[in-house]
């Protein structure tokens, strides 16, 4: 039965996970991820989801446990946030290197100190180089849809890499919105049970996983991850087409393009505030500004071709980061800049909204207008600014 229900982002994760029939779940609670793992624990205890739920004593162990379960062939799930994600960081690398199709929800949250439970993308982006596919949703519906597609993408033989699905703390995780569910039959058809492949722990066909690789071999393992990541770009598109058939919903693969075709300035960002940015774009367009948006849905594999295709020839690109790589710029800004090398597109970066500071359509208006003003004044320099820093409190 296809229902439309009102769900928080976290419950959208939980209901999607349930439909995907994972067999082992291991998780450790952290605000604001908790209601995901509480809901899944309830599904398991009520017998609505036939799975083993391991209530581990840390996030490091959560990832280790799903690595173990995945290595013997089970479909698995975990979820975390912020400090939890950083604490499991070592194991995050381990999962990708072992080519295990683990799915993890990451409720993006700022990093200590000082304590902050509000949204910020630094935790997710700190996993950038781990070999995981990294997706980021805009709204609760997309959270639901991404989780279901995530299993298909991760388990695809051309990929066999883990995937994390990001959703912003509170603005999605704890905000209820209508979500179109899918029926169990639909999902079962879209996502069959995980296929066994030859690199599993099996007493009938014993292998050693992860033993020492001398310099003669190590590099090839890394190269194979890179190749799988490159193949994933196409796989993500294909699977989204298939998902469209059962759901009637698609978003555009690695990126979502919003009013880009006639635009002269492109806003690039990811996550829940993209919704506010769209509102801002609509308002500015009424005033005659031809601004469009490229929303990053996948940070890895990175949509370099899509960015070049949309941005080359535009007057300017504005990248808004909810994160910072200290000593350089926003992570997304750096990635976009490197994708647009040897072009003469002006790239303006804003660092904004760290630690959950509100960024409203009015703020996006201000950011975008400032770039237009600069262009008009002949300032085409690429640069990065911190938006809304309060000089008076420092």
């Amino acid at each position: 039965m296809r229902q439309k229900v009102v769900l928080t982002g976290n419950y959208a994760v939980a209901y999607a996970v349930k439909l995907c029939r994972p067999q082992v779940i291991a998780a450790y609670p952290i605000t604001p991820q908790t209601s995901i793992v509480e809901k899944i624990a309830e599904f398991v205890e009520r017998g609505e989801l036939k799975a083993r739920y391991i209530r581990v004593e840390s996030e490091h162990s959560a990832m280790a446990a799903v690595i173990g379960a995945s290595a013997v062939g089970a479909r698995v799930f975990t979820a975390t946030s912020s400090q939890g994600l950083l604490y499991m960081h070592e194991a995050v690398w381990s999962a990708a290197g072992a080519r295990l199709p683990i799915v993890m929800a990451v409720v993006t949250r700022a990093i200590f100190p000082p304590w902050s439970i509000w949204t910020d993308h630094s935790d997710l982006l700190a996993q950038r180089d781990t070999g995981w596919l990294i997706a980021m949703a805009e709204n609760n519906q997309e959270v639901f849809d991404m989780i279901i597609q995530a299993y298909r993408i991760a388990e695809d033989e051309r990929v066999l890499l883990p995937i994390m699905v990001g959703l912003d703390a509170f603005s999605l995780s704890h905000t209820a919105a209508p979500v179109n569910l899918l029926s169990q039959e639909d999902v079962d058809e879209f996502l069959p049970p995980r296929k066994a492949f030859s690199f599993l722990l099996d007493v009938e066909n014993p292998i050693s996983m992860g033993n020492v690789a001398f310099p003669d071999y190590y590099m090839e393992f890394r190269y194979l991850v890179q190749k799988a990541m490159e193949r994933a770009k196409r796989v993500i598109q294909e699977i989204e087409e298939e998902f469209y058939k059962i759901s009637g919903r698609k978003y555009g693969g690695l990126v979502e393009k919003y009013k880009c075709s006639d635009a002269d300035v492109i806003l690039i960002l990811m996550g829940a505030w993209s919704g506010d940015a769209k509102e801002s774009i609509d308002i500015l367009r009424e005033e005659g500004f031809r601004v469009g948006m490229l929303r990053i849905r996948f940070m890895r594999p990175f949509p370099e071709e899509e960015i070049r295709e949309v941005c080359i020839g535009k007057k300017a690109v504005i990248v808004v980061d909810r994160d910072v790589s200290f000593g350089k710029a926003g992570v997304l800004f750096t990635e976009v800049t490197s994708s647009l090398q040897q072009t003469n597109v002006t790239i303006r970066g804003y660092i904004a909204g760290l630690g959950g500071r509100d960024v409203t359509p009015r703020d996006f208006n201000a950011m975008i207008r400032r770039v237009y003003n600069d262009l008009e004044a002949g300032d085409k320099k690429s640069k990065v600014e911190w938006y809304g820093v309060k000089e008076e409190v420092m």
Binding site: V56, S61, G210
Partner: protein, 297 residues
């Protein structure tokens, strides 16, 4: 449960030509594990000497399916494997952690404690060579008082962490100590442990010729002296019931124990010990046995 050499299978699960040092107690222990359990084992190995012993990719000397895991994660990885096997209907397979003392009493303790408290179905074996041997003999929480290591060049000033007792406090069904000097006792304990569901813990004393500074031909002898001098009592705690095993049953009376100097003098790591140091170790051994008496009564 009687185990004799003749009753052991001929099948080997650690192949010869592996990368262990001469006289390696971990390699010997792994062989014995295979003799005890046969092929239905999935082995979890954290960073340790066993990461090396199995040999480099693309070969392996271990005939069990084996997963190498990050240092602190062996028990948690095993929890995941055990849960998956259960739901996949493969409950006849033993999940065995084969971890060194660093991976057990230090960096791996949190994961081990969690798995024990949850009652996850794992056999956890700590092969205790009493220091970080794979990185070149650095002190661990399991290094005994007085021992030289490269990070305690004047000798360690604290006693060894008593991990079997910490595991006992988790109310798990089976805890045992073993020594590589008494292989049949070790095998018997493995076989007994796997009859229980839940986390089973065996702490295997594994004298390391390289790190303890004794000739590689003496591994078994040093393993026996540890027991005969009372430094390493052999016991098992089955469902909370404590009992001594093997030769240790005869050692409650201090006069039956060999002087600890016999154990100390064969190891270069203790060569600098003063009489005072030796007295500290003697007192430690006496207190171990006093605790055992209390547990027996």
């Amino acid at each position: 449960m009687s185990v004799t050499v003749k009753s052991l299978p001929r099948e080997e699960y650690l192949l010869p030509g592996n990368a262990s040092c001469p006289g390696c107690p971990s390699a010997l222990g792994l062989r014995l594990l295979g003799k005890a359990l046969g092929k239905n084992v999935i082995l979890v190995v954290p960073a340790s000497c066993t990461s090396i012993i199995q040999g480099p990719y693309p070969k392996t000397a271990v005939k069990f399916p084996l997963i190498n895991v990050i240092f602190a994660s062996s028990a948690a990885t095993a929890s995941g494997i055990a849960a998956a096997l259960e739901i996949l209907g493969k409950s006849d397979i033993h999940v065995v952690c084969w971890s060194g003392d660093g991976g057990t009493v230090d960096i791996g303790l949190q994961a081990l404690s969690g798995a024990a408290e949850r009652g996850d179905n794992i056999l956890y074996i700590c092969y205790d060579n009493e220091a970080y041997m794979n990185t070149g003999i650095q002190r661990s929480g399991s290094t005994p008082y007085g021992a030289w290591t490269t990070t305690t060049v004047l000798g360690k000033r604290r006693h060894k962490k008593n991990l079997p007792m910490i595991m006992m406090a988790h109310n798990i069904p089976y805890v045992a100590t073993a020594s590589i000097g008494y292989p049949l006792d070790f095998i018997r304990k493995i076989k007994k442990a796997v009859k229980y569901k839940g986390l089973k813990y065996i702490h295997l004393l594994a004298p390391c010729p390289v790190g303890w500074r004794f000739p590689p031909s003496k591994t078994v002898e040093v393993g026996r002296l540890a027991v005969l001098t009372g430094m390493w009592p052999l016991y098992e705690i089955e469902k909370g019931k404590f009992r001594l095993t093997g030769i240790s049953r005869t050692l409650l009376d201090k006069s039956k124990r060999r002087p600890i100097i016999e154990y100390i003098k064969v190891q270069g790591r203790f060569s600098h010990l003063t009489e005072e140091d030796i007295r500290v170790l003697e007192e430690y051994v006496d207190s171990l046995w006093e605790d055992i008496k209390k547990m027996l009564s």
